[in-house]
Every structure is written in C-alpha cells, then in structure tokens.
C-alpha cells in the first residue's frame, strides 16, 4: 500500500485527519473490498474449509439478486470483491456474474480449486484486465496437499496453473494456508509460483468452519510460527499474506520494529465483511457464525443498509478494550490477535490469541474451554454433525476486546 501525504507540511498544511488506522477503526461508509461466497456447493471437501462447504443451499441467491448486489457495490464504490465459496465456478451463472461485475466497475478476484480452469477458460481469463485468479493449494506436493484437500486436488490445481500460464495469464496467485504439515515447504511453494509466473500468497489457518475440528492438529507449532516469521522477514518481499500474520509481529520485539508489513488492524465490519451465498452478511470471512451475523441483504433492505445500520457493525466500530492483553508490552504489535481465531477455539474474546507468540494463548488453550458449535454447516459428509466436541453454548460476550487484525481479505494485501 502507499499512504500519501502522511504528515502534511507545517504552515500551509490542511487539517490533519490522524492516523489512517484510527480512521479505519471507526469504519468507512463502504467497505474497501469484501468477500463474497457465491455458493456453498463444492466438488471438494477440504478438512479445514472455513465455510463448511459442500452442498448447495436451496436459498442461494438468484442471478438477479446477485446482480442487484453488484449494482449496490458499484454505487458504494466498492472497488473489488473477493469471490469464493464453496467452489464459485460451479455456479452456472458464474461467468455472467463476473462479467456483470467488471462491466460495473467492481473488480473481481476469485478463489478456485481449479476444477473449471481448462484451456478455454484460461484463455478467456487472460483476455480480461479486471479479473484476478487465485488457485488454492495447501501442499507443495500431492502427498501433503491431498491429505487436506482430497485425492486428485493437487493435480487439478497444477493443471489449472499450467493452463493459465500457457494462455498468457499473468500473475495468478497460488493461495496457501500455512499448516504444521506444509510450513517446511515454503521454498517449494515459492518455486512452484515462479514456475508458473504466479505470485505466492500464504495465509493463516483459522479454526473456522470445519477447521474447528482439525485446528489442533493442523495449526503450526510455536517453533514453526517463529520459523514462518523468519521466512517472511527473509522472503516476504513479493509474497502476499493478506496481513494475516500480524500476530507474529511480536516476534520482532515490543517496539514494533520487527512488525510485518501491513495495516495491523482488524477490518471486520469496519472496512471488510463477508456476504454468504444466501445473502447473509458476516463481519469477516472467518466468522460464519450466528454471533458474527450482521444481517441479511434479502430481508434487511439491501447490502448498504446492513453495512450502515447493523448493530454488530456499529459495535465493532466503537473503541474496543484490550482486556487481559492490555498489560502486555507487545499489545501494540499484535493488538490481541484475531477475533475469529479466539472465538472458534473457545477462548475469551478479550484475552490472547490462541497462537499468541508470547505463549499466553497456549496456557489458555490448556485450560477448560468449549469450542463453539458451528451454526452454518453445508458439509456433504455431515461430518460436522458427528464432531467430537459436544454441542455447547457459545460465549456471548462478543466484542469486549479489540477485534484482532486484518484478516485474509485485508484490502491492503500485497501493497
């Protein structure tokens, strides 16, 4: 990102507006960008799917409903949407919606497992200036990837990358969720991206959706987090992170000198949000749960109305207290971590992040905790229904602490 004219010159300077971060914390009249899951339908069933996708929801928005949302986004000058799912390309009107968005000054970046990116589609994508493609891959080898994303998914993703590269599509993204199993493959991921003229994008594993069941086994260990931090410091240039590793900044010391680039702000409900396939609006892509539901585009008067009037979003835009983290000298580095990560690991919202690099999260994880039950589940296998943790009441003390950080969809990702 570039932030211009930070300190206006002394005498003729116009009134200062303060730090951008402070402005953003109070929320903007419209999101800078947002995530839009177009469908819960998916050909894969990744064990860590943050939207617990699989089956199409019968209430899925129609083509016309989607177009009217795009009209609203255009009016609000939302510059681009991150389209995901489920697997968005399985919607029969997917390309129609992509075209409609780009014709209405709403840029599109979509995430796919590659299932529909054949030679023809790759050529079509290469012909558009306004569409960015992100291929999901969670292992640099089939063995590591397919264990999480399912048999054949590595080959499918690589075929999509090959097709894009051969069609002349420049700068596709390879999107990797960093896990205990693939953290040693970062160099290999980078090499893979280089091979296809793509950019590597690595993000944090959130315990959201189906990942609530596997997070304990998949999330990087403390030693691996340091390894990841050091890799980012050494190789971060040219690698996108969606600002999702801000919680690692405390490795760099309490003076903030070792902070990773990014805005270090939780944008949930302030500058980003999520629209789900049935038109429900959530605070962020990692918070598909009733507790983070702001409203419905279908029944609450449209997106702009939800964005402006939602009680949840209004709360998120109020100053937040740091709670248990307020006395920590590293608070300015990590600002309490990620709201969704705490919630879905059953930790208090006004305490440390489960992956707090000072170790405060570890002791919290070892204490009694109850993982919240998913309230939105479209898994084909019904796996979530058999989860080992019994149904439990969700903690309702939402937002007594500072919302964490920017999430995957940080609008500043890559700047």
């Amino acid at each position: 990102m570039t932030s211009l004219l930070e300190p206006p010159a002394a005498p003729a300077a116009p009134p200062r507006v303060g730090r951008l971060v402070d402005q953003f914390e109070k929320g903007l009249d419209a999101p800078i960008c947002l995530t839009w899951e177009l469908t819960y339908a998916c050909n894969l069933s990744c064990v860590h799917c943050l939207s617990s996708s699989g089956k199409r929801d019968p209430r899925e928005l129609t083509t016309e409903q989607c177009k009217s949302i795009i009209d609203e986004l255009q009016r609000m000058q939302v510059f681009y949407v991150n389209i995901g799912g489920g697997e968005p390309t399985v919607r029969s009107d997917f390309w129609e919606l992509v075209d409609y968005a780009t014709e209405h000054q709403v840029g599109v970046k979509f995430s796919t497992n590659g299932v529909r990116i054949d030679e023809k589609v790759a050529a079509r994508l290469a012909a558009s200036d306004y569409v960015d493609v992100q291929i999901s891959l969670d292992g640099a080898t089939a063995e590591v990837n397919d264990a999480v994303r399912g048999p054949g998914s590595f080959a499918m993703a690589v075929r999509a990358l090959e097709n894009l590269s051969e069609a002349g599509f420049r700068d596709a993204k390879i999107s990797v969720v960093v896990t205990r199993q693939n953290v040693d493959q970062l160099d290999e991921f980078k090499a893979l991206a280089d091979r296809y003229g793509a950019t590597l994008r690595i993000t944090r594993l959130r315990p959201s959706g189906r990942a609530v069941d596997v997070w304990d086994d998949l999330h990087p260990t403390h030693e691996q987090q340091r390894q990841l931090y050091e890799w980012l410091v050494a190789h971060g240039e040219g690698v996108l992170t969606g600002d999702s590793f801000f919680h690692l900044s405390a490795f760099g010391g309490s003076d903030g000198a070792g902070a990773l680039p990014g805005l270090n702000l939780c944008g949930a409900g302030r500058v980003v949000c999520l629209i789900d396939p049935v038109g429900d609006v959530y605070a962020c892509p990692f918070a598909i749960h009733d507790n983070f539901l702001a409203g419905s585009i279908v029944t609450d008067g449209g997106f702009a109305s939800v964005w402006k009037n939602s009680e949840l979003f209004r709360e998120l835009r109020e100053p937040q207290s740091a709670g248990a983290c307020s006395s920590c000298s590293f608070f300015d580095s990590c600002r309490g971590g990620c709201m969704a990560a705490k919630f879905f690991t059953g930790l208090p919202m006004d305490g440390p992040d489960p992956e707090c690099v000072q170790g405060h999260g570890q002791s919290a994880l070892e204490a009694d905790r109850t993982v919240p039950q998913s309230s939105v589940d479209h898994s084909r296998t019904g796996k979530r229904a058999e989860r080992r943790t019994p149904a439990a009441p969700v903690p309702l003390t939402l937002l007594t602490k500072p919302p964490a950080k920017f999430c995957d969809e940080n609008p500043l990702a890559g700047f």
Binding site: M1, L5, P15, V17, L28, S128, D132
Partner: protein, 104 residues
C-alpha cells in the same frame, strides 16, 4: 477490457525520472477515486493497487490535474505555494510511479 494479458503491472518500480511537475498530468483512466472523510481511496483496476490520499487538498489537486497546464499550476490553484509544495510533489511523484496518474 483490453488486449489479452495486457495487465499493466510492472513488478519493479518504474523510474521516477519521467515525473515532470511542469507538465500536465491526469488520473489514469483505469483509476477510480472514492472520497472519504480523511481524503480519498484510489484504486487502479489495471494494477489492482490501492492508495490512500490523506488530506482533502491533495484530493482536490489530483482531481483537477488534467484541467491545469502543469502540476504546479494545479497546486497553486489550490493554495499550495512554493514553500509548501514539497510533500505534495512527493505524493504526486509516488502516484506517478504507480501509474495512478499519467501524462495528459
């Protein structure tokens, strides 16, 4: 939509030599400007880069660049005299580097 693959992204920074405050510049046709209380957001649909303008004077200057015979003339028209122009020229040069503004 333009030619296939014509995504105007250069991984390495373009040289700044080309920014001439004595010439006329304007917003790149693929750039959208969204006014905000703190200034404005700029988004380049071609490079997919986002920038922030952090005060309202620079916003007015950027919007009016094309109407003036030079960048300096645009600054003067918005009350920015020679003694105050440095940070503005720096900001505009940065915008030129990222192709947010282009020679008119």
């Amino acid at each position: 939509m333009t030619a296939p693959g014509a995504i105007d992204v250069s991984p390495e920074k373009k040289s700044t030599d080309t920014f001439d405050p004595g010439a006329t510049w304007r917003l790149h046709p693929q750039v959208a400007l969204r006014p905000e209380p703190f200034g404005a957001l700029l988004y380049h649909f071609g490079t997919r880069k986002l920038s922030f303008l952090k005060n309202t004077v620079i916003v007015d200057v950027v919007r009016s660049l094309g109407d003036h015979e030079s960048v300096r003339a645009a600054l003067r028209a918005h009350g920015v005299d020679e003694t105050a122009e440095r940070p503005y020229l720096h900001a505009l040069r940065t915008l030129a580097d990222s192709h947010m503004i282009v020679p008119a």
